[in-house]
């Protein structure tokens, strides 16, 4: 079983700079395997715990991303990442 969700990034810089770092730190705090892909750019899924990978999918404001998690805490991983994105990273 894997959990997944599509969400639109609304904060101004997208997944760059500090928001990218916050996203990766949050993803890394879970045991589950977490993947993220940029639906808008149609990229392949990449490891959400890797800062270099997250930067490489170039997520900008208004891009739709898909987050997938697989593992014991998959539900809470998805939930917290979506919360982080919906809070616009506290911008």
């Amino acid at each position: 079983m894997a959990a997944s969700i599509n969400v639109t990034v609304k904060n101004e810089v997208g997944l760059h700079a500090r928001p990218a770092a916050m996203f990766v730190k949050k993803a890394s705090s879970f045991k589950s395997k977490v993947m993220v892909e940029n639906v808008t750019r149609a990229t392949a899924p990449v490891n959400a715990k890797s800062i270099l990978s997250v930067l490489s999918i170039g997520v900008l404001k208004d891009h739709e991303i898909r987050i997938q998690a697989e593992g014991e805490d998959e539900e809470s991983a998805i939930k917290s990442l979506v919360e982080l994105i919906e809070s616009d990273f506290g911008e």
Binding site: H16, V46, S50, I51, S53, L55, S56
Partner: protein
Amino acid sequence: MQEIKCLAISPGIAVGPLFFYSTTVIKAEKQAAADPEQEIRCLEEAIEQAKVDLQAVLENSRKDLAGEAEIFEAHLMVLDDPVLLEQVAEDIRGLGVNAEYAWQQGMEKFAEMMASMEDEYMAARAADVRDVSQRVLRVLAGEQQDGRSLAQPSIIVAHELTPSDTVTFDRSKVLAFCTAEGGPTSHVSILSKALGIPAVSGLGQYMEQLRQASTAVVDGSAGKVILNPDEATQRTYISRRAALDEKFKRAFQETTRPAVTRDGKQVEVVANIGSVKDAREAVKYGAEGVGLLRTEFLFLDRTEPPTEEEQYSVYRQILEVFGDRPVVARTLDIGGDKPASYLHMNEELNPFLGVRGARLELQHEELMIPQLRALLRAGEGHNLKIMFPMISTIGEIRQANEYVRRVKGELEASGTPYARNAEIGIMVEVPSAAINADILAKEVDFFSIGTNDLSQYTLAGDRTNPHVAHLADSMDPSVLRLIGMVCKAAHEAGIWVGLCGELGGEVIAAPVLLGLGVDELSMNPRAIPFVKEQIRRYTVEEAQRIASHVLGLSSAADIRAYLTSLLPDGG
């Protein structure tokens, strides 16, 4: 004893022994690895060591450079990247190569991917990735990692210094930086200015002489190095340094207080900046806002113009640093002398009299519209003001204002939040604009006098031509008279006047500009403490008397001599 003229890139004076810092870029050779698992263990250890070193660098930078610390936090995250480590380990096992080579290739792959995105932010991250790559390679090569092992306070000599090199040194032991390369906008210049460390550059052809010298004097204000100074010279510079330190300390302590004249008039003292980093530095030096945000840095050295979003994000970051304090953004000011490749500009016989500043933007709607949209959107909730450069006629102002109206209409229609009340002004830097200031004042909310261009146009002396550049002196009575005219016309029309050329940062000019009626002075952040100190010495009436006396003098040289004689220490 040998005296060398060089480039002054960060002011201040230092006297002491020389320390050579090697910054050779390590290039790993591909080798077959007998024991891949051993290679992986070595790499993991090197990464751990690099992390420990970076933590120390991070602590150092947190103390002095809150803004710079972010760079090193990002470096640490890269060292923790699980995908990177996995890929490099796979390469070591799969290809049977050495750790150094696999690491270098793995990092380079990410660096190239980022560099190819043609996005300023990502290009900077590519440089970060390469910086991190070198850090680990240096540990693997068993090289002296950094300058924290400096035995005694020294003058650091290097070919070039990266940001992490610069911050790695124990600050208490760095007297000055001397580099072969790097101009006034290089990393080493920006960081040493932020740290208050004197620095000089352009010493490429003298590196051998530096290597043979044991001690030196570095004058980062005048751009001078004296090798093996004799005792008398050392004493002279040591006392000069003490006097400078004392002067700066005094001015800096007071710099967050407003600049109020003895009779109670407050003069707004703000900064000229050209990046987010500059914005943070400006606040440290007591800037009460920004009088000139140069937006060119977003447009140059790239193959296509920045998008509206990219601009918005940078403008927003800068505006956030200043909260509700004023930030005057100048729209794109480029022309034949600093061309952007994607504009396909025609070569001009006289680029300074050609398509520059607003003239260019008014011809390129595809640049004007996204920039105005980005600025107005970013300014929402902040104190944003916009000004157009290189305006010479009222027709140009009307055209520019028409663009502003159009963009505001579009933002309004789409329900996008934006800065509804942003003031719109112009740079006064063409003599016609100064002479017609009373006419132009009716169309704008403010003026900002650009003294560098105003001087070169008034005196017909090209600033970039060494044979005539001396003519373009902003202290020439002709320029000061024009400034007076502009202030008078503006105040009669009920608008305010700023001044953002180099003249604004000249300490001796402050009473004259105050006396002529300039309401806001904008300058390089480091000049702020001194200019504020100078303003506090006078009353408005005294300043007016000085200004009117100066307007009666016959040359820039006479004016400078007179103003210097007014300084408390006679200059």
